[in-house]
Amino acid sequence: MKEKKVILDIRDFSVSFEQYEKGFSKTGLPVIRNLDVTVHEGEMVAVVGSSGSGKSLLAHGILGILPYNATMGGELMFDGEPLTRKRQKALRGNEIVLVPQSVAFLDPLMKIGPQIRKGKKDRASREKLNRIFRGYHLKEEVQNLYPFELSGGMNRRVLVSTALMGNPKLVIADEPTPGLHMDMVRRVMSHFRELADQGAGVLLITHDLEQALEVADRVVVFYAGTTVEDAAASDFGSEETLRHPYSRALWRALPQNGFQFIQGVQPYVKDLPSGCPFGPRCEFCTESCKAAVPYRQVRGGRVRCVMAGREKGAEEMLQSAKEPSARLAAAGKHHTGAAERRCAPEPLVAGHEADHDKKMRSAV
């Protein structure tokens, strides 16, 4: 495979919010940390994580539209240069575009046409929009409709159209298919695939692994505000080729692989364990997982797990994977004593997995 140009390179990205603790002290609430993603030209990368884990903040961070009480950290590179605030301002809507979840992100009182043209009335932008609409088989009359008048099928095409008004090098699609029928999902996804095939980098943010696997080239697995694995989509063909226990758990939860879910929920930001966030739910958790875990290259992908790639650990993982019934027993046998006890009883408070961005935003 020949090297393609890197469009987006995010390293050690973090987002935190200022918040009150009990009583009076203000603290930073780190909703995202240690997030690493790269997107190449013509490549479609899916960031997959459960709903409400703060994925949208990644999109908002790249675009520079986080709420004012959010602080961003880490290294953002776009097209080979640091993505500063100034560049974000200049590039968003043009070279970096966002495709939102639903028509709720459109002004309900502005007609579709003028809205997509951002109020511009000149000939060039009119013609450009007409061209885009023809490409998506949207009639010109649609431009005279208000968002509430769009049918479900038109919705998505209109939203994708907004992206093409610029000259996108990077398209960020934030949960573009919530609650859609599978046929529709495929159609929408094909639009994004097209954009990638035309040379843009596409960053797909979704909670649906199945969907992501269908179109994406690479999948970045997002857990409790951290990226735990960066794998080729093909790695999800079998459990063995995956590197992180959480990715494997996701794989096992796929319908074709038996719908097996692991116990517990993602921890609330405040209750995060030290070290690996997945530790308390992981059957292979050891004492070394409690320290900071580096993001390492393993078999052509990247992973944030001390066990991955190490001969012994890998073997154990494989073995237990083959005998699902023996899994718990294995966990108990190999990691007895202090480590096990310290890892397991971490409080897993259910119902804490509130939708972070929503909460943060509503608080602003």
């Binding site: 002004d107 502005m110 509503s362």
Partner: protein, 330 residues
């Protein structure tokens, strides 16, 4: 088209029903009053010197012996036909008294309504756009201060400053004292209306500003403004294309709903400036137990308030495409 007519009809019928209820409530309230209009108006001494026949005649005129429900329908029937009764204090038909007073007040209220609406909208948009800034804090602080200030005291303070201390404006009344009606110039009228109008505007601004500000903040935090920012639209563009468009709808409702407040404010302010308008007439009628006039003013002002609401609803239907175009579908 048919849907629109039904829409208008529905609201108009509702308004008439409400108006009927208002008059019933007002009538009930004055009926249960322990204050005897006969004594209050004719006077104890006069009553004593009257013959039994005369008193009976008066009682019949006041409807003392009749059951209240019948009296109400008699009154409401006359009212509907345009006969609002005779004012006891002014010794003139109520309709005529209200006509004259309303003419004086309408001036005042129209100016205050327009000024406070425009200024309130502008300040609210500015404050909401820059939430948390110094400008926002000043505007918000000013609005809260004014909202906490009784209108009549503000009138007193302005009167002290401009009429007593600086002596640039007259102390009260709508025309100079002791000048023949024919000698009153427009300029005189304007000079006498300045202070009341300004006071009424100042009090009106606060509420509209605060509400517009809230709406503006809500809009600036909405998903569609977030998306507009993500698309690289400038703040000015966002204001022009999205914020104004969306804040205008609630502002229209608010502006028409503020008619009630302007009416209430005018009662207090006219009292301070001895401005012979509808508000002052209401106070005089209440204090002097002029029941027909009090009822007349209540129904007329309620008609204005409901009329305002009706217009707001209709305008909403015209401005909001979700009602204008969606109404037919839903």
């Amino acid at each position: 088209m048919k849907e629109h007519l039904i829409f208008v009809g529905k609201h108009a019928v509702r308004m008439l029903l409400l108006l009927f209820c208002v008059s019933a409530v007002a009538f009930t309230l004055v009926s249960i009053s322990p204050i005897d209009p006969l004594q209050a108006n004719v006077g104890q001494a006069a009553l004593g010197s009257m013959s039994q026949e005369q008193i009976a005649k008066l009682q019949a005129y006041w409807g003392v012996g009749e059951p209240p429900v019948e009296r109400f329908f008699a009154w409401a029937g006359d009212f509907f036909r345009g006969d609002m009764g005779v004012s006891l204090l002014y010794r003139q038909p109520v309709a005529k008294v209200i006509g004259v007073k309303l003419h004086n007040s309408l001036w005042l209220m129209a100016i205050a309504w327009t000024l406070s609406g425009l200024a309130g909208f502008l300040l609210g948009v500015l404050a909401g756009l820059r939430e948390g800034s110094i400008l926002d804090k000043i505007i918000k602080g000013y609005s809260l201060l004014i909202a906490s200030t009784p209108a009549f005291w503000l009138a007193l303070v302005l009167l002290m400053i401009f009429a007593v201390w600086l002596k640039v404006l007259p102390i009260g009344l709508s025309v100079p004292i002791g000048v023949e009606a024919a000698g009153v110039t427009i300029l005189d009228r304007i000079r006498h209306a300045i202070l009341p109008a300004v006071t009424l505007s100042i009090t009106g601004i606060a509420n509209i500003t605060l509400h517009t500000r809230e709406k503006m903040i809500e809009i600036m935090e909405s998903d569609y403004v977030l998306f507009a920012r993500a698309r690289g639209e400038s703040t000015w563009n966002i204001v022009k294309n999205h914020a104004l468009r969306n804040v205008l709808l609630p502002a229209v409702t608010l502006q028409f709903a503020s008619i009630s407040e302007i009416f209430g404010g005018s009662v207090l302010i006219e009292q301070v400036f001895s401005y012979p308008g509808l508000g002052q007439a209401a106070v005089t009628a209440g204090l002097g137990s002029d029941v027909p006039l009090l009822l007349g003013i209540t129904v007329i002002s309620a008609a204005f308030v409901f009329g305002g609401n009706l217009i707001a609803n209709l305008l909403y239907g015209v401005i909001d495409p979700r009602i204008r175009r969606g109404g037919a579908r839903a």
